[in-house]
């Protein structure tokens, strides 16, 4: 039973990071209709940028801020250079452009930073675990979770209370109406990509703190896909819940199923679960159901 609660808490905390990355994904999809398969590489870029700043001796929060700024710039550039020209193209073209982008980014990241695992030295978070009642939690997990939740709240506040955030909500809801009311769609698209880059960068930095940073963190970024499918593609609360559920599911599978299926069950479980889930509830838990029989 103790094992169960341990894995549950760890799962929720890792899930918080996934939720952050999934938020970025859903934002792009809601605002511009682009299904982004490059999310894993976005997490990689952000993580490596903040790691580089941190290794130069800059304090962690400051290097995180720098990586946010660079993520913002890269996001706007990506949207302007690649995605802007593809508005109105078929779904396959847009998806494959993001796949192309993911290869491009991955190649560049590997060229610059190599493939060896790097760690944040000195460790950002203290190594001693915290005891909460009978539970033992690594401080990395706890602080990552807290950071992810703070950022999630910040982004939510941005959507609720600022002019730009409201413009983005309007565009996501009804693009034509938003355009006729004077919202600039191009501005909204660019902002959505910038925010996705920033959220993914923070998520990647936190994930890199947990296990060290290498290319496989990009694979963890890919886990947002099961998360958003679970929550429904166009629902922000759904993405957050989906991220947490996927984190829990992954850790539970690692803890309990590993005995029966030795090896990489932890990595595959979210995808297997997603494939089965799609058969029964194709539009996720909170997604819009389009009535369309095939």
């Amino acid at each position: 039973m103790e094992l169960f609660f341990m894995t549950l808490t760890t799962g929720i905390m890792v899930g918080g990071i996934y939720a952050l990355v999934a938020l970025g994904w859903v934002l792009i999809y809601k605002c511009s209709g682009v299904l982004n398969l490059a999310m894993g590489e976005l997490t990689l870029i952000g993580a490596y940028v903040s790691l580089s700043f941190y290794s130069m001796g800059i304090p962690f929060l400051l290097s995180l801020l720098f990586s946010l700024i660079i993520g913002f710039i890269l996001g706007v550039l990506t949207e302007r250079i690649f995605l802007d020209r593809l508005i109105g193209e078929p779904i396959l073209s847009v998806i494959m452009v993001t796949v192309g982008l993911s290869f491009f980014f991955k190649g560049i990241v590997e060229l610059i930073w190599g493939t060896d695992t790097r760690v944040f030295t000195p460790p950002v978070f203290p190594l001693e675990p915290i005891h909460i009642g009978p539970l033992i939690i690594g401080q990395v997990y706890l602080w990552s979770f807290v950071a992810a939740i703070i950022l999630l709240c910040l982004f939510m506040a941005f959507f609720q209370y600022t002019r730009w955030g409201l413009a983005m909500q309007a565009t996501a809801d009804d693009e034509m109406a938003a355009l006729s009311l004077g919202v600039s769609a191009r501005f909204v698209y660019a902002t959505a990509w910038a925010i996705a880059f920033m959220a993914a960068g923070v998520g990647g930095t936190l994930l890199g703190n947990i296990n060290g940073l290498n290319i496989s963190v990009g694979y963890l970024g890919l886990l947002v896909l099961p998360a958003v499918v679970l929550g429904g593609l166009n629902s922000v609360p759904g993405a957050i819940m989906g991220g947490i559920i996927i984190g829990v599911l992954q850790n539970l599978a690692g803890a309990y199923l590993d005995r029966y299926f030795p090896g990489g069950v932890k990595e595959v479980a979210p995808f297997a679960f997603m494939a089965i889930f799609l058969l029964f509830k194709p539009y996720g838990l909170w997604g819009w159901e389009r009535i369309e029989r095939v």
């Binding site: 192309g100 190649g107 799609l278 095939v294």
Partner: protein, 366 residues
Amino acid sequence: MSTAFLPCGVYHENYPQDHAWWQTRFVRGKMTLLFLVLFVGFPLFAGPYSISVCNQIGYTILGALGVQLLIGYCGQITLGHAAFLAVGAYTSTLLVLEFPWPKFLTDWGLAYPISIIAAAVVAGLWSVLFGLPSAKVKGFYLILTTMAAQFITVDFILTQYVSQIGGRGQAFSLPPGTIKIGPWVIDNERKVYFMMLVLVVLCVIGLSNLLRSRVGRAWVAIRDNDISAEVMGINIVKYKLLAFFVAGFVGGIAGAFWISNLAAISPEHFPWFWSLWLVGVILIGGVGSMHGTIFGSMFMVVVMELLQIAVIPLADIYPKLLLDFLFIKEAAFGLAICAFLIFEPNGLAYRWWQIKNYFNLWPFSY
């Protein structure tokens, strides 16, 4: 893409003429020449390096045919085709190495040919299994289930379980002499080349003929508008699953063929990258066109080889470059896909069609 315009002064008088493979004498001559070059001229004069490049092209064509069928003709986007190649390759390997063949079959060298067919069928059925969600979902959700196919098949089942059969650990080694067709042992590039050529020609002809039959037209109807296809009386689920089966079948042939070129086979030969690579190939060549599959494969393989040749002299100056070539290749591939989709969304096949038309219609191009 329709066929090219006929040259001035050529008319068809009946239906078979209109649907003939090679419609004019010029085309007939051109194709005969092409086949002569491919089967006789090229292997006679080319060195081992260019032959091995050709083998890679052939493998890419065989792999991309299934993707082309699913994406280009049936509209079912797949990002996990390498899984079916892997299933084919592993089935064939396991059959050749582990199956208790009767003595006379191995003596006649029939074990490998039979295993190719078995591999194709198994891969086709495996593909149908992951095509089942296509009965219910489409578009992005289908992409996700095919991705799941890749991760479940290659990273989980093959790596964790199939690789353990026979206690070999990670890789199955294929001792020289095991791959044998009839009296010929496939042991050098040239023999692989001939086998590749026969398989590619058979698959391309078979698939092209299938595509202009009732089945192929049903697929195209589903691609263009699935609801109106159903209204016209096409059983959508059946035809979608059939498309998955045929795509997996060709993929299985590709995988089973490729083991003849490898000394050992391991799951690393079929990464997710390879699935995406195949989709990139048909996008660059042209979606919905058999020419496109072939041109795309040729283009991608040759460009990557040229890139490698260009990198080698630079490596004297920057030795790190050689180590990083894999990453340069990845980045270049990504950029190529983006550039083609943005600037040349119809692919290379469209240019080829334009060139043919230009010469067919010349000098009266209107």
